[in-house]
């Protein structure tokens, strides 16, 4: 079972009400299809290096994880920051979709398996890991330590990670076309005018 993380409560947007903590907002900020989630955690004393060890993957492990992330195609980025002399951990991520409606999916996915390995070294999360928690308790743990961004900006506004992946594939293909003999002539076709305009550089 989960213990309350008193130290973290002053970092959240929750306010004490009649002595009982109020639930955090269910989700972070959202711009277009993209949401952000920032979770501030306190590291259990002496566990900083254990977290660094978990986050330090072998090249094979990293490749496997990157492939899994790419295949799902909804994560834009994730950052894990140990700060305050390694006493605190920031988990900051941006992804497509909402956080709160996907909590059960998250709990059933490989992401929680990956996070569980370092969350056990954070205050308020049991050493036994997720096996000892319900999904609702995991959700409460994360949202209780989550702080909604005051501002959230994406350069590629309104675009999902999948659309960015697709755009990159299209550009790779386009560059291949430009490197093909006869490309200039082929692009003269009126149907390809928008592409011809992109072909000069």
């Amino acid at each position: 079972m989960l213990e309350t993380q008193q130290e973290a409560s002053d970092m959240t947007t929750t306010e004490p009400q009649n002595g009982t903590p109020v639930r955090s907002p269910r989700k972070g900020a959202r711009t277009g299809p993209v949401s952000e989630l920032s979770v501030f955690l306190n590291v259990k004393p002496g566990r900083e290096q254990l977290i660094r060890d978990v986050l330090h993957m072998t090249p094979a492990e990293r490749a496997a994880m990157e492939k899994a992330i790419f295949d799902v195609g909804s994560l834009h980025q994730a950052r894990y920051v140990l700060f305050d002399n390694g006493s605190r951990l920031l988990v900051a991520t941006t992804f497509d979709g909402d956080w709160d409606v996907y909590i059960d999916d998250f709990a059933a996915s490989y992401i929680l398996d990956a996070w569980d390995a370092f969350l056990i070294h954070c205050e308020g999360y049991p050493d036994e890991g997720k096996a000892s928690l319900t999904v609702e308790e995991i959700k409460e743990f994360l949202t209780a330590n989550q702080v909604t961004a005051a501002d959230f900006y994406m350069t590629y506004s309104g675009v999902t990670a999948k659309e960015i992946q697709k755009a990159l594939r299209v550009d790779t293909a386009f560059q291949q076309v430009l490197d093909t003999p006869g490309a200039a002539e082929a692009l003269q076709n009126p149907a390809l005018k928008p592409l011809l305009e992109l072909a000069v550089n």
């Binding site: 277009g32 299809p33 295949d71 799902v72 195609g73 909804s74 992804f95 497509d96 979709g97 909402d98 409606v101 996907y102 059960d104 999916d105 998250f106 709990a107 059933a108 996915s109 997720k130 096996a131 000892s132 928690l133 319900t134 999904v135 609702e136 995991i138 309104g158 999902t160 990670a161 999948k162 659309e163 697709k166």
Partner: protein, 446 residues
Amino acid sequence: MTAEPTITLEVDDIQAPVLHPRPTRYAGTVILARIDDRRDGRELLRRLIPFVPSAAGQPEPDLEAWTAVALSFQGLKALGVPEDILASFPPEFQQGMAARAADLGDMGESAPEHWEQPLGGPDVHLAIYALAPDAARLEAVIAGARDALRDVPGVTPIWQQDTYVLPNERTSFGFKDGISNPAIEGSGIPGTNPHEAPFKAGEFVLGYPNENGDLPPAPQPEVLGRNGSYVVFRKLQTRVAAFRQYVRAQARSREEEELLAAKFVGRWPSGAPLVLAPERDDLELGADPARNNAFRYVADDDARGLKCPLGAHARRTYPRDAPIIGVARMHRIIRRSSSYGPMLPDGVLEDDGADRGILFFCLQASLARGFEFVKTQWIDEGTFFGTPDEKDPLVGPNDGTNRFTVPQQPIRRRLTGLPQFVVNRGGEYLFMPGLRSLRWIAELDT
């Protein structure tokens, strides 16, 4: 989050439609009633219970008939369920469907202010849904309930809608439905997709662990929630003429018209899935229950949607093994819908003004994770498969500006200017209690 030992489902306490699929041919009715007097309401429940079959016994969908009883939050209140117990129901159920309209995308013509009265109002307390393989057997199963409603004074029927299979055994849009049914662990009833692992009972029935190993949130005391399931009821009017006109206008031939319509749905009129029959309808496949749902998307070589578009209605409302945000199995719902209204004759493109469509019924242990997720994430938005701008082309809240991408060789087809083909005429969130729970409510003494 821990592995659970195999559980035994109390099938003799679960109402029949939770586990038993709808017959292929059917006649049915939905009756909504208002409870003016709590004691009369409980008396009605006592008289209804003998007519409400459990899910025990081997299901034979084409032989059996059932009558099911469900209650809205307002109905539980009208029956005198105490406040502290009412408060233990999940918030979305307490609020009811009309209050959730903005979040659910029930806007414009589908907004509650346009709903058919009394749907969405405070008087919808009790629902009776009866379904049988034909009209004679329907009369046999509904007679007892009708007598009870007539004899008990403080309960008033306020709405009724008959439902029946069309002569061609298809929905008003012209497509066979009710094909995809999940297997539930412990029920002994096989699912229709042999490639789909059985689901933990707690995805659909309260009182059992769900796919995450947790018990779904349930009202207290335990007897009230156990073996119950949440029901979503919506009267969905279909704009069949508008759909036919739209598809006709996009197609250069009758064959292309049929193909485009199938691309909207994800299946052919016979029910044959596009993944298994990509080029033309296959009547034998559509009619074969062992094969007509035996497919996946990626595993059956359709990751790119060249056979079944990523945005097709059936694919997006249960993406199976397709790569999406999240885990599709977390959002499986049981569908028990039936058709209402006359068929628009084949070939007619002008609207005849008739009210026709689907009485949408689905069952789940969590409205938030079931219907509300499917509606908001899979139907009203395309972000989950990376295409935020595309809503469900068939049932989504399109407004004439939306598009639908149909992958094909050599160049994808992009349909634009999609109008709305389905309008919600109203609905409610209901709780379908187990039989012990129905008796517990009937015996309340408040």
